[in-house]
Amino acid sequence: MTSTLTPVRSKRSALTKGQLPKYAPYVVLAAALIAGAAILALVGFNAFGWGIVSAILFAVGLVSWSAAVEGSRKAKDKLATCLVVGSFLIALLPLISVIWTVLVNGIPGLLNPGFLTTSMNGVTGVYDNRAVEEGAPVIGGIYHALLGTIQITLLATVISVPVGLLTAIYLVEYGNDGRLARAITFFVDVMTGIPSIVAGLFAAAFFFAVVGPGTKTGAVAAVALSVLMIPVVVRSSEEMLKIVPNELREAAYALGVRKWRTILKVVIPTAISGIASGVTLAIARVIGETAPILVTAGFATSINSNVFSGWMASLPTFIYTQILNPTSPANPDPSSQRAWGAALVLIILVMVLNLAARLIARTFAPKTGR
């Protein structure tokens, strides 16, 4: 056999035989868009429906063409790709919608002078009525709630992360799948299903019993949030620790490294990115909680910088009351503006946290660069 080593060959490569041409997806996409528009024109056109119908037509068209030309394996691969990309696009819809809602409604509130630096102390419906009826500026801010949220969440994190991480470590490294470990695993799962309000009531009842009736402080709220946070931390950390390869542990043990140092310096750094993700997830999960804070931290309208004494506000409770019990029931718009502004701040806060966690994770994460 003489190999033709000329780079430009007229005959089609055997390797690309029975394969869709490169432009196939674009052709199908164009066809799907046109057909989608046609179908939608029949039932009444709207952009959203057009997108959905075209996407379905595209997937069906591409997959069946591929099935006809390339066979079922490639077609399945294309189908999977369509589904995976499609699910991502679907997930973006609510994200964009919610973020858009929050941005549109929240920016006016956020741009209010003093929104981040003042509290609601002394703000009454009179001002809101004036704002609506006479066009006066909307006053009142979220400083107290922001401060409260940060402190309560911080305290909850300080409680939950060590407990959660240590528990995960126990389960993966020490539990040996024994009876206790299995019990903990099981009950941690059960704990994830505790409704947030029950966590709040439990924490409140606990502190009422231990400290005295009417004990409502940021710390009580932090305990309630910890009950919600711990299972998320345990679950996610446990999964991440489990997939650290055993050979790394063995490598450390063989160097005469103690188990606890191995865990701290080899296992955790290897899993840190996942753990950080889990912790941020847990924080995000509780930082937006309303119900448990209402029953544990009281309801403050003024600034309190001590988590261990006195009532404390938080952003979610602030948002909640501003939406459901506007400062002026007759003119709820200023309250709603403050609520959305606070929601925006809360989201930004979590974003910043998330970024920080990723940075931390990156510093310790396995180096894949070269």
Binding site: N121, G214, N325, P329
Partner: protein, 343 residues
């Protein structure tokens, strides 16, 4: 910042300091904001904190001693009154009316801002027995109003609520033949319909849904929705603060309570001219006796301010509530004066 009330009545009493803690109804939250601000401005060193956890939570709190006063849109139940004696002394807790709120029947019918309805028609609307706004029963009472062919969507409160208690109490008393359920804070489960959480929730839902109708504190309805005049006796009474105050005056004291207690049993079937009987009275529940003089002074000063003309005006400005009538305010003041240190 805060309102600086002129002609300070509360500050004429003893100088008070300390923190007063209240828990209770969320519906009076806006008024409480006004009272907190007004009271704090007049009394340096004294603060009031109020957590709008709900009336039930408030009553629980005063019974177990975790709050010094409760805001409640119903007076204490008998068994609650009995258990309050443990913390509040032998005379138990007393109910002081602080806030009157007429409940509007508010609807969203494009082009219609006023309707006249009687109790039975209202009941039928909310039971789903009248399903279109052009129903003859409605038309008969509203000559000259062009009623559209529009589906009726009744919207009720999804949460347990004082507004619902008073509204269903009105329907059950004034139209017992149609409204066969007992009065209750929870909407009867057998009725299918739309609902939403909180006064602002139902108002918003109705505002967004043509043909929807709900019942809500008048202050939150504002001018956005149409409101119904209710048939009392032979006339249709438009909702207003005065009409609500009249209906409250027609009520009677509740039996078996402390001598000075001001709990009112409303008469929903009143035929008093100009009275609007779909009304809710909110109370502050306070102890008849407290452990320390300081607390007594604080409670007295605060509650006096709340029921004073000026306090009522502050609430009206802020929350658009209906002020107490002077007769009622006087009774309330007497009750407040009776608060004493535990012996």
């Amino acid at each position: 910042t805060g309102t600086a009330p002129a002609g300070d009545q509360a500050s004429s009493g003893p100088k008070v300091t300390g923190t007063l803690t209240g828990i209770g109804a969320s519906s009076t939250g806006a008024a409480m904001d006004a009272w907190k601000a007004g009271f704090a401005a007049a009394n340096q060193g004294a603060t009031v904190q109020y957590s709008p956890d709900g009336s039930g939570a408030g009553r629980k709190a005063i019974i177990d001693g975790s709050a010094q006063f409760a805001g409640s849109d119903a007076y204490l139940k008998d068994e609650e009154f009995e258990s309050s004696k443990a913390v509040c002394g032998p005379d138990g807790a007393i109910n002081i009316p602080v806030y009157i709120s007429p409940i509007a029947v508010a609807f969203n019918i494009p082009g219609v801002t006023e309707l006249k309805l009687d109790a039975a028609t209202v009941a039928k609307i909310f039971r789903g027995e009248i399903s279109n706004w052009n129903d003859p029963a409605i038309a008969a009472m509203n000559e000259g109003v062009s009623l559209p062919d529009l589906k009726v969507t009744p919207v009720n409160r999804s949460d347990d609520s004082g507004t619902t208690t008073n509204f269903t109490d009105y329907l059950a008393s004034a139209a017992p033949e149609v409204w066969t359920d007992k009065s209750s804070g929870v909407w009867p489960a057998s009725l299918q319909g739309e609902n939403a959480k909180g006064t602002s929730g139902v108002v918003k839902t109705v505002t967004d849904t043509p043909g929807a109708v709900t019942y809500a504190d008048d202050s939150a309805v504002g001018g956005k929705l149409g409101t119904a005049s209710i048939k009392v006796g032979e006339e249709f009474v438009k909702i207003s603060a005065e009409a609500a105050a009249k209906a409250v005056e027609a009520g009677e004291p509740v039996e078996g309570r402390a001598e000075t207690d001001v709990a009112i049993k409303l008469d929903r079937k009143t035929t008093a001219s100009g009275a609007y009987p779909v009304v809710l009275v909110s109370y502050h529940v306070v102890c008849s006796a407290y452990d320390s003089q300081e607390t007594v002074d604080l409670v007295k000063a605060f509650e006096s301010y709340v029921v004073s003309e000026e306090g009522q005006q502050a609430a009206a400005d802020s929350a658009k509530s209906a002020p107490l009538s002077s007769a009622l305010a006087e009774k309330a003041t007497t009750a407040i004066e009776s608060i004493k240190v535990k012996s």
